[in-house]
């Protein structure tokens, strides 16, 4: 007895359950809502305009189909404190979190996860696996990738960040690139810092921070509410 045969037998038995005809009841209930009959026809909204910002390109996630997600990128040029803040467009089911000028809050679900974010992992432990994800660390103990063992999707933080930079600064030369931690904000943040040069202009810092729930989105996983 193999799995598919057992399921076929089970489904056949389930299909034998007779379902009552509920159409009249369903229709009456819907029609009983007063404003249903007067409800104006909704235009297909497509992507919500709330999520449209200036200067945006969609970013292609490496291991999954094209996904648009939020990344807050701040660019400091020269001695200026702040400059342009780029927000990528979101796919409509990713809610916008409240953002600060230079980073998105990154909140850990557990103390253990927080420690991971802070890089408190032994250099000997290049991979950490919890019940949900597999975390990959580089030789410096910095988180560099997150994988979902069930779907096989893997997010490479460095590659994703470089792709973002290429999309927004196609003519630029990347002089240095580092993954660092930023504990200066309300929540610890994992940052990708890049020093690039474009058209003679030196951009000293591009900081891209990743928000915890966004990792799950990037992996194509719904936020864990269980």
């Amino acid at each position: 007895m193999n799995e598919s045969h057992a399921l076929e037998l089970f489904e056949n038995e389930l299909n034998a359950i007779k379902m009552p005809d509920l159409w009249e009841k369903v229709y009456s209930r819907v029609q009983s809502i007063p404003d249903i009959r007067q409800r104006p026809k909704r235009r297909s909204r497509g992507f919500s305009t709330n999520y449209t910002f200036a200067a945006l390109a969609s970013v292609i996630l490496l291991a999954a189909a094209s996904t648009i997600y939020i990344i807050n990128m701040s660019v400091n040029i020269g001695d200026e404190q702040t400059s342009n803040v780029y927000n990528t467009a979101l796919s409509d089911d990713i809610p916008i979190k409240s953002v600060q000028p230079h980073s998105l809050a990154l909140s850990a679900r557990t103390d253990e996860e927080l420690e991971l974010m802070l890089g408190k992992v032994s250099l000997n432990d290049m991979i950490y696996e919890d019940s949900a994800y597999i975390y990959h660390f580089d030789e410096n103990g910095i988180l560099c990738g997150i994988a979902d063992p069930e779907s096989g999707n893997c997010l490479d933080l460095e590659k994703t960040a470089k792709l973002l930079i290429e999309n927004h600064f196609p003519e630029a030369t990347v002089n240095s690139f580092a993954v660092t931690l930023d504990n200066s904000g309300e929540h610890p943040a994992l940052c990708i810092k890049a020093d690039i040069t474009q058209n003679g202009l030196s951009i000293t810092e591009i900081k891209i921070t990743f928000f915890t729930d966004e990792w799950r989105k990037l992996l194509g996983i719904e936020p864990d509410q269980g």
């Binding site: 299909n15 369903v26 089911d93 996983i221």
Partner: protein
Amino acid sequence: MPSDMIDEEILSQILERIYSGDEDAFRELYNVCASHMYRFALSVVKYSYLAEEAVQEAFLSIILYSGNKRVRKAKSWLFTVVKNCCIKALKDEHFSRKDDIDLYKDKLFSADQTESIETPLNEIEAVRVLDDNELRIIILCKIEGLTIPECAKILGISRVRARSVYDYAIKKLKKFYREKEGQYE
């Protein structure tokens, strides 16, 4: 009752048409989905009349959905709506205000009492070897074609647990049907 799973693309298109004001699309939604929704609702609430109530309420919720976001993963959303309406139907039966499906199940009946409950599911011998979550996971995952993570989210359990429940349910069904076939040899 349904023999084919709901097609995700077709469901998405029907929903788009409904929210664009296409009145014919609603009937189409009923034709495509009602029996699937009823079957899942039965697995949650057991009683036919509660399943009927939940399905009616689910259709109403779908029509009244006023989110400004396009529905992604329409099937997963659909069954989530059904689950929520099942909980509402159970609450309306004057049980205590809890959100957990299993807490309501405990109020309704214990495992020993399940067989004495008049529910269409008891007509199926194989259903009795499965516990509630196992039945729901099999329906959602194998019969309706949802993924384990989607099932876990709908049922409010972790993905690890959902995977383990699913594996165990499959083993139970295989054993049941193997033994049943052995009886007729």
